[in-house]
Subunit: 355 residues, 2 copies
Amino acid sequence: MSEGVVSKGPTLFASTRLHHFVTDVFTRAGMTNQHAGYVADALVWANLRGMDSHGAMRIPRYIDLIDAGDINSRANIRVVTETPASIVLDCDRASGAVAMHEAVARSTALARQVGIGSVFVRKTTHTAAVGHFTQQVANQGMAAIAFGGSWPNMAYHGSRVAALSTSPFSIAVPGGSGGPIILDIATGAISVGKLRQAKRTGQAIPEGVALDKDGNPTTDPQTALIPLPLGGPKGSGLSLMIELIASVLVGNPILADALEGKPEGKRHRQNAFLLAIDVARYMDLDQFRAEVERLVRAIKALPKDAATAEILMPGERGARMLAKRTRDGVPIPPAVVKELSGVAGRFGIDPLVPL
Amino acid sequence: MSEGVVSKGPTLFASTRLHHFVTDVFTRAGMTNQHAGYVADALVWANLRGMDSHGAMRIPRYIDLIDAGDINSRANIRVVTETPASIVLDCDRASGAVAMHEAVARSTALARQVGIGSVFVRKTTHTAAVGHFTQQVANQGMAAIAFGGSWPNMAYHGSRVAALSTSPFSIAVPGGSGGPIILDIATGAISVGKLRQAKRTGQAIPEGVALDKDGNPTTDPQTALIPLPLGGPKGSGLSLMIELIASVLVGNPILADALEGKPEGKRHRQNAFLLAIDVARYMDLDQFRAEVERLVRAIKALPKDAATAEILMPGERGARMLAKRTRDGVPIPPAVVKELSGVAGRFGIDPLVPL
């Protein structure tokens, strides 16, 4: 890609081409074409929905992790524990998107058999946008609850250092005409991505959401580094419980290893939990969709506060962004375009062509 | 009870006597002695743990609900849907403590059979302190996730009116020497109980946590009425998803009926969901306990911020309060003592005798 493309503003790329490019990259990096496609699904989904921090900008970091042996591009995912209602998948350091794709298939198959199916996703790597996977469950007419355990990047309430993960937490249900309702949140008062963005733009960050490297509260975008937990002990407690269930319960503790300075604590790894509920086992699916739509309608008709033009459902902003970006293209900032160009060069594949 | 007891400060009562009193009240109100005992377990547990808003002060309101036919003291709880991994209990307007007691028994029995057991608690009434029930699961060596759907008392993000419940959400796991870890939170930025308390004490409430009756943001303890959701769209979204899974999915929608002004929407009712995970199916329970203790130790040793004397685990403050109040007695404020005295008089039972 010529230097000319690296201009000030972001460049627009067709999502189909971006998907093709990402699939090519991870195929060359050693994955099967199918697995590389799952990674592309997850990254492009995030870009389309406006969650750029979980989109194509992750590619260079994923490649680094493959180089370091932290992501295994030929992972052998296998069932290590099986009960009639649950499965523990040992993911052998698979890419998170590959591991979670398997978890979606397994949890929905289990839910079809026993009503509610649970999958523990052990020894995965960066889980990608977890809402992508709960949405896949919802697309099959099921409700989903998912959360992920990861390395320490957020303060424990009352502490001055990163000790917990801003653990992603997502719930999705099948919806009516507006599509599934997808809540996709984290346990921090602000995301690491937003702190990084503030550092670039210089915009001050709100009070009470971040600490600097020395553990002092700050609103300075240049020094803010560690997110505080959402609602103090609430976000902190939720993140701790996520680690205890997603990681400790399946014998792959992340936080304790990291906090104790164990060598394994320094390696990139994650765990996740995904639960699928087969709606049709509990009520008629069409009636459920109608009831969801009825509640959505009632909430959207509520009197609004002065700052609000429209009341939105969880995931609605993302769904609209997806429609827009599918039509108009995915914007990628110059620095990321340059990095992707480097990745293309390394693997000898055609660079991304802008719209 | 003589008027002399109604002094300015709270009166102390032995928790055992309080338990006996509550059991007597609900037995006279029509429950079996066993069911009345479950209500007493839940209310006294909340008082002992310092959650007085879910303790004995609820008794007069519960009696009103029994009088109105909204709590059924002779409820016939039955299984209306059963899959190999889940049960829907129709609770026939049972007292929440009775319904949740049944849910604990059913979910742990299911988890023993299939690894993870889920119970939908449909048509219950005030769920009481949900942490009481996740703790009961944890006491059996299992992890628990529970949440409850209820009537609108919290604003939806961007709206000016109460449209969602401050839905309780709890996760508990078996612990090491410190006992189970119990997260017991709500989805609001502040609880209704704290707003009521602020109104009594006159203490200003923080900015950004409440609206007045007209939907305007306020810090005035005399007018603050409607909690805002925790973290704006995060708490709001979580509460909405709880209603969709706990209520809508089992055909007992609460919010839509209330927001549409349906007669059924005005009646007190709740729903809940309880999931039990049998730790021993996934790893050795003693090893799990040791790993929990290891993580707790690492977190407690973290450098503290200036405002923090000690880093606490979820539920630790409550466990200490329980030890203290079991020893020193449960403080009950004069107004509540007077109400309880009235209840005792009505049912012809001995009034509570203070310590």
